[in-house]
């Protein structure tokens, strides 16, 4: 057994030709967040604390689509969402439509711990944030120049962008004719297990570039973007609609429970059989301290480590790194 942790910064059609100046800061962030998580686990922090901590780091990093650095709605505004789940108790918390909360994942945790509800959204969630005294700032804090650019490009191309890491090309082959681009690329997440088998999962995002105001993706939906029970903890990323329909996070656990698949097998099955190619990635850990990072996209920003000393930071399939 032993502890294990995995985190992601989004799955998508991340081209191998990704420019160094876009790649390096993201890799550095993954390295930093992994270290934060590993140190916390070594300091015996609970997995619930660890996943919240790591996701806060990713939210604070402007290179990922969560918290600061969130992509913009079609109105040029910020609407953030997140969810967190504790494997032992299956208690969970979720938030959507946040505009001023510095760390959405922490508000999700407060919903879980301080209200009789699971999910708060928009004005109600913002009001709750103020009541709780959680850190809030003017919405402009979250907006980066890069995302203003992305929105501009998306509007010019008049489509909802599927892979926000790349500037839109007019002849983008990968775009489906029906712009059913309910994509969640760039979502961040973290899963962790301690040496006692306690599991937790957390996911956070700004959503989809040029999304309709009020659009909710898979990230705050328990069973879709986030899930944890006493077998495993899962955090997913990719095309929100596909993840929602595929109840991705729940299915990994269900396959382990009902079909006896191992963590790795279950994750591979979901990613290969349950969701169309190019749509999903996930990270997961098991109660036994195993870790897996699976995706059916070109790449996924990811990192993981286990107590026995294994660690990995990657974007594309290992053979190409």
């Amino acid at each position: 057994m032993g502890w294990a942790i995995a985190l992601h910064g989004g799955a998508g059609d991340i081209p191998l030709s990704l420019a160094a100046e876009r790649r390096q800061p993201r890799e550095a962030a993954l390295r930093h967040c992994l270290k934060v998580g590993v140190n916390a686990l070594k300091a015996q922090k609970s997995p619930l604390d660890v996943v919240e901590l790591v996701v806060r780091e990713l939210e604070n990093n402007p290179h990922y689509n969560a918290g600061r650095g969130s992509v913009l709605t079609r109105e040029g505004t910020i609407e953030m969402e997140a969810s967190i789940m504790d494997g032992n108790t299956k208690r969970c918390g979720a938030v959507s439509g946040l505009t001023t909360v510095v760390n959405p994942i922490s508000l999700a945790r407060l919903v879980m711990e301080k209200t009789p509800h699971i999910y708060l959204a928009f004005d109600g969630a913002e009001r709750f944030a103020r009541e709780q005294g959680i850190e809030t700032v003017d919405s402009s804090h979250f907006i980066t120049q890069e995302n203003i650019e992305r929105l501009k490009q998306a509007k010019e191309a008049n489509r909802v962008q599927i892979d926000y890491t790349q500037p839109i090309q007019k002849d983008e082959k990968k775009e489906t004719p029906t712009a059913n681009g309910d994509s969640q690329i760039g979502t961040v997440g973290c899963v962790a297990v301690d040496s006692h088998g306690n599991l937790a999962s957390a996911t956070s995002t700004g959503g989809l570039v040029n999304k309709m105001v009020g659009r909710i993706g898979d990230t705050p939906i328990i069973g879709a973007g986030t899930y944890a029970n006493n077998l495993c903890a899962v955090s997913a990323t990719g095309k929100g609609e596909a993840i929602m329909r595929g109840t991705v996070a729940r299915d990994v656990a269900a396959l382990m429970e009902f079909k006896g698949l191992s963590l790795k097998e279950a994750a591979a099955y979901v990613v290969e059989e349950c969701v169309p190619r190019g749509n999903v990635g996930l990270v997961a850990v098991s109660a036994k301290g195993e870790v897996t990072m699976a995706y059916n996209t070109t790449g996924m920003f990811r990192a993981c480590a286990t107590e026995d000393g294994y660690s990995e930071i990657a974007i594309w399939p290992s053979v190409q790194n």
Binding site: K90, L120, A121, G223, A224
Partner: protein, 326 residues
């Protein structure tokens, strides 16, 4: 079996002291909705059309907690939510935070069919409704006098936790009343009145669909979202089955209840009733909920661990039943 099948519900968790005339009212509504669905199925309407049609009827009638007759949020207004899922392709649509849309389930359907997304909420959802030309009304339209009274009781119950209509099971102290099976979500059952509505259908081509709609929890915090609009929790449909749940939102979300029924059928090979029984027995922990389900084979099933569930079901071979109690 084969053939079409339909089930409707008006909520799990019924006050055992519900006056007979209220019980009759409920059964009449369920019967009317079933017949509406049956008629549509006999005209070869698709499952997805039928579930929308039936849930619209339930929303329009003020009896249950959806559309008109919705429970009131803490500030006395109505905030509605709904979701719909087409098992054929697993497309889905969901909405939350609606205050002026006359039929939330129809907006959920439009989100599924006419938007690039799957879930829209609050002002963004209302804007979309406006763009789509959906029927809009003032929030007052949804508010009934009865629910205004219920909200008052709920607010009082939060401090007193006592309702004179309930037999004094286990004394007046908070702890003891919390043990009583006549409580749900911390409120006496007569006040809580979950009454979320839903419909599941398998049509004569074996396609399954499900839809759920609600005003949510009485006295909820504004902005609170429950299980009804969450795919996998309150609603789910795939090529094997269609499921709609009702009861304590938290329990349904944590248990990903609707998806669970389908998952045990898919991954464990259980039949519909077995799957429903398994989920109700094993997946609710200390929570209270109920659900209705149909399978692509034309089976219909329901299950609940609450005191009663308003429900009705019918199959092509002529079976029909409307019930409240076990």
């Amino acid at each position: 079996m084969g053939g079409w099948a339909i089930a409707v519900h008006g909520g799990a968790g019924v006050d055992p002291n519900l006056p007979p005339h209220r019980q009759e009212e409920a059964k009449k509504l369920l019967t009317r909705c079933l017949n509406l669905g049956i008629s549509a199925l006999r005209s070869n309407d698709s499952a997805i059309d039928v579930v929308e049609l039936v849930v619209r009827e339930l929303e329009t009638d003020p009896l249950f907690n959806s559309g008109r007759g919705s429970a009131l949020a803490a500030n006395g207004t109505v905030e509605m939510e709904a979701s719909i899922m087409d098992g054929n392709g697993r497309r889905c649509g969901a909405v939350s935070g609606l205050t002026t849309v006359k039929n939330p389930v129809s907006l959920a359907r439009l989100v599924m069919d006419k938007s690039p997304h799957s879930y829209l909420a609050f002002s963004g959802a209302e804007d979309f409704a406006r763009q789509q030309g959906l029927e809009l009304v003032e929030n007052e339209y949804f508010i009934t006098e009865e629910n205004v009274g219920m909200l008052k009781l709920a607010k009082e119950a939060n401090t007193i936790v006592f309702d004179y209509r309930i037999p004094a099971v286990g004394s007046e102290t908070c702890g003891a009343v919390a043990e009583s099976p006549l409580q749900m979500n911390g409120l006496p059952i007569s006040v809580y009145a979950p009454e979320t509505v839903g419909c599941v259908v398998v049509d004569n081509q074996g396609r399954c669909a499900a839809a759920t709609s609600t005003g949510g929890l009485m006295n909820k915090m504004n902005g609170r979202i429950g299980d009804s609009p969450l795919i996998g929790a309150g609603t789910y449909a795939c090529n094997l089955c269609g499921v709609s749940c009702t009861g304590e939102g938290e329990a349904i979300i944590r248990g990903t209840l609707a998806r669970e029924v389908a998952a045990v059928m898919e991954y464990k090979g259980l039949g519909l009733q077995e799957a429903v029984d398994f989920v109700i027995k094993e997946r609710l922990d200390e929570g209270f909920a109920g659900l209705i389900a149909v399978s692509n084979k034309g089976d219909v099933a329901c299950g609940f661990n609450t005191t009663g569930m308003f429900r009705g079901c019918a199959t092509e071979d002529g079976y029909m039943e409307v019930n409240i109690w076990e």
